[in-house]
């Protein structure tokens, strides 16, 4: 009978029963995130419809019915009604290099590979520090590789800073030996070093180039600027602009926050002027007006002119971003730097700028992305960047009327670069995060 039955005593933990399927799992997720209410469900359906119609038109067009092998648009249409990717296949080298001579394209590739090496120590902390020396000489090297000519010209230009340093070292030791006051000696040496560099650039480089070339002639075939185009040109302008606008932007930002009235006025005026006009007007200035500002008879390369204008343009925006970072820094940081007895440059270099730049990373990278996107504007003044390359292709009888394939190709290139940059900025923000969160 019941007396024999032992009362139930649990001998161990009873495993918890699984939550009902309406709370966890894919069904619950769908219910919560896609169909939580009637308006939500309508939006989901609308979204699904949009995705479906996009995919239904793009996938057959791009993958199923696309034509890779054809000689003209008409030929493409005869074969199939999808994307005529044959144009990309035929012209992709032009999109990459512009009209850069075929035999010399290895130079562009080498420049790009070396750029990755030069940029590595700047972007990632794990790189060997010695690589910084390579980064320092890279601009001259890249210039020589891309434009060709004798190597001694760029080498001569790179010698300028070295000459300045040597002049400074020698003069300051010599002058210290005299009875001259120390401060004056330092300043005199500095001025002399600057002068020596400028004089070397104006007079010495050519002479150096001439003499050394006559002894040891190392050179590459010259490539004219109007041959350079495509993504090569975009990258060239973009990277030089980025490299130039960052230091210039810091200088302008410091200038705008300076106590020195005149410096502040110049910086503010420059920033507001550049930010007030569209880049395209500045590019017009580069293409039509800049030669007026130079001594009669001189004219310099259009790509160089554009790089200068793009750099100035981006540096004004950069300055405002960095100024925001400087303003966001608590006042205590400035006061602490002063209290430690640091002078202006030391306090900026060691205390203020590292923090201010860290705060402004998102803005800085946004400016870089903007600059890189803005490089397509050079097509308006006739340079052959990817958008500029489009016109000769679309004007070609074989490919007349082709649109989507070409725009799509360019868009993908820019998307990859710009999206990559924004991801990098997020990585950098996380890495430099020192807040206690």
């Amino acid at each position: 009978m019941s007396a024999n039955r032992e009362p139930f005593v649990a001998s161990g933990d009873i495993p918890p029963s699984p939550p009902p399927s309406s709370v966890v799992g894919p069904v619950a997720w769908v219910r919560e995130n896609l169909f939580s209410s009637i308006p939500n469900a309508i939006m989901t359906l609308a979204g699904l419809f949009i995705i479906y119609s996009l995919l239904a038109s793009v996938i057959p067009w791009l993958f199923v019915n696309s034509v890779w092998n054809a000689t003209s648009l008409g030929h493409c249409r005869e074969i199939d009604n999808g994307a005529c990717l044959a144009v990309i296949k035929e012209r992709y080298l032009q999109f990459i290099y512009g009209f850069y001579p075929e035999a010399e394209r290895w130079r562009a590739i080498l420049t790009f590979v070396l750029m990755v090496v030069a940029v590595w120590p700047i972007l990632f902390a794990g790189a060997p520090r010695k690589l910084f020396y390579f980064s320092a000489v890279y601009p001259a090297l890249a210039y020589w590789l891309i434009w060709g000519g004798t190597i001694w010209g760029p080498v001569g230009v790179m010698l300028g800073p070295i000459i300045a340093i040597i002049t400074y070292r020698i003069l300051s030791t010599v002058l210290r030996g005299t009875s001259m006051e120390e401060g004056i000696a330092g300043v005199l040496a500095l001025i002399a070093a600057g002068l020596a560099m400028v004089i070397w650039w104006l007079l010495g480089v050519e002479l150096f180039d001439g003499t050394v070339s006559s002894i040891v002639s190392i050179g590459l075939p010259v490539v004219e600027s109007d041959k350079i185009g495509g993504f090569l040109l975009s990258t060239l302008i973009g990277v030089s602009g980025i490299a130039g606008s960052f230091p210039l932007g810091i200088a302008l930002a410091l200038g705008r926050r300076s106590n020195l009235l005149f410096i502040k006025a110049i910086s503010t005026g420059f920033i507001e002027f550049i930010r007030g006009v569209p880049l395209i007007t500045l590019l017009f200035v580069a293409s039509t007006l800049l030669n007026y500002f130079l001594p009669p008879g001189t004219s310099f390369d259009i790509i160089l002119r554009v790089v200068i204008m793009v750099t100035l343009f981006a540096s004004a925006y950069m300055a405002e971003v960095i100024r925001g970072g400087l303003a966001a820094l608590p006042k205590g940081q400035y006061e602490a730097a002063d209290a430690l007895g640091l002078d202006y440059w030391k306090s900026m270099r060691l205390i203020i700028l590292p923090q201010a730049l860290k705060i402004s990373i998102p803005g800085i990278v946004n400016t870089f992305i903007g600059l890189f996107k803005d490089t397509v504007l050079v097509s308006v003044i006739g340079l052959l960047d990817p958008v500029g390359i489009l016109n000769p292709i679309r004007a070609d009888q074989n490919w007349n009327g082709i649109v989507w394939e070409l725009y799509g190709f360019i868009s993908i290139f820019f998307f990859i670069f710009c999206f990559g940059m924004s991801r990098y900025s997020q990585y950098l923000e996380r890495k430099l995060q020192t807040g206690h969160r």
């Binding site: 006051e181 401060g183 005149f262 009669p296 097509s379 308006v380 999206f419």
Partner: protein, 405 residues
């Protein structure tokens, strides 16, 4: 024993110009000033010499010369016999037109996309992320070219509207005609007494603003809230409609009609204007969406919880608590997006829309060879626009600034 002694050395030495903070800033500034003046003098001198060498003079007289080129999209009368100055004005008005249209649509697109990105609907939020990232990471010039290409390639040509069984037909009962050359919309035709309707409408706008101010004051004084929306809408439209019908409908719409090979009548907006407008709106809209999202996220959750705890309904919470705080974060960057849009509208030159850059900085410049004058005027125009927009922004910032102790 250490003694603190002041040297009391007041003799001026040259080194003090650098090492004494009393003088150093002056030294630096004077050196900078001298360098600046020298550079400026050098540049001006070069310009004078170059202009002289080319036999050019610096004058704005060319503005009165005949422009002798056509502008196909214009807001005011213009013909090829008009002056360069008039062409410039047409261009400036075109810039302002596309800028204003673009700012309005970019705001609408941006607010919708920004709010939807925060939606708890997973799919919609992801779709909006794709929209935002796609537009932000591809140059606006490419978007402009793509949009114009979409209009040119996918929409029907005007002659496809012809015949008994046309391939294409106007939309919305003949009001909207989309062709690959541009869009036609109805044009208002002002009959007799139509000014009365316009004046009544403007008066109603004034009365409505006055009413809202009064209602706000009354609410602050007594705490009573009037049903603002229906009353303002009533004030805005009822008198105007009344006058409109009493006067026998003086304003009518002129529909675009197919005549010959093309449409006549209505307002014609060229493909380049539409493409530029759409591309700028979508591009700026993507940036605006991020701004709106950041603004909404910037209002801490405690604010809405506090408002609910006070017993405010969700609508009131939004209007009285969330929005005023979010707008303080949203408006300044939004205004600089408007500024960017205005400056980006100069890319019109790539699709042949004749804005200020296309007329003053484009054809006028090339025809007259007055690079200096044209570019100076063009930059001055853009500077004036952007400085006035910044002035508005500063005024707004000042007005909404948190007043702390």
């Amino acid at each position: 024993m250490a003694t603190i002694s002041s040297t009391g050395d007041t003799n001026f030495r040259i080194g003090m110009l650098i090492y004494d903070t009393r003088y150093r800033s002056y030294t630096i500034q004077i050196i900078a000033l001298i360098i600046f003046m020298l550079a400026a003098a050098w540049l001006v001198n070069n310009v004078i010499e170059n202009l002289a060498a080319l036999g050019k003079t610096f004058s704005f007289g060319f503005l009165n010369d005949t422009a002798s080129y056509d502008i196909n999209q214009r807001l005011i009368d213009y013909s090829s016999t008009s002056s360069h100055a008039r062409a410039a004005v047409v261009g400036i008005l075109n810039t302002l037109l596309v800028a204003i249209l673009g700012c309005i649509t970019a705001t609408v697109v941006g607010v919708v996309a920004g709010v939807l990105r925060l939606s708890n609907n997973w799919l919609i939020a992801r779709l909006m992320t794709i929209y935002v990232e796609g537009f932000r990471n591809i140059p606006v010039l490419v978007w402009i070219l793509i949009t114009v290409a979409v209009i040119n390639e996918t929409l029907p040509a005007p002659n496809q509207f012809r015949g008994a069984d046309p391939d294409a037909s106007p939309l919305l009962g003949g009001m909207l005609v989309l062709t690959n050359r541009g869009f036609y919309i109805p044009a208002p035709v002002m009959g007799d007494m139509s000014m009365a309707v316009v004046i009544v409408f403007l008066l109603s706008v004034g009365v409505m603003i006055g009413f809202r101010r009064w209602a706000k004051k009354r609410q602050e004084a007594t705490g009573e809230i009037l049903p603002l929306l229906p009353i303002s809408l009533g004030i805005l439209f009822l008198p105007t409609l009344l006058v409109f019908f009493l006067l026998g409908m003086p304003i009518t719409l002129e529909y675009p009609e197919l005549k010959g090979f093309n449409f006549r009548g209505g307002v014609f907006m060229r493909d380049s204007l539409i493409g530029l407008w759409l591309a700028l709106s979508l591009y700026t809209g993507a940036f605006t969406a991020e701004i709106v999202r950041a603004g909404i996220l910037a209002v801490s959750k405690g604010q809405s919880e506090a408002a609910f705890a006070l017993g405010l309904r969700p609508g009131r919470t939004m209007n009285l608590v969330i929005l005023p705080q979010a707008l303080r974060v949203i408006v300044p960057p939004l205004i600089s997006q408007y500024l960017n849009l205005t400056k980006n509208s100069s890319l019109a030159i790539a699709v042949g829309y004749m804005d200020a850059t296309g007329t003053l900085g484009g054809i006028s410049l090339n025809q007259t060879g007055k690079e200096f004058e044209c570019l100076m005027l063009l930059m001055a125009f853009y500077l004036i626009v952007s400085l006035s927009i910044s002035a508005v922004m500063n005024w707004y910032n000042e007005r909404v600034k948190l007043r702390e102790r």
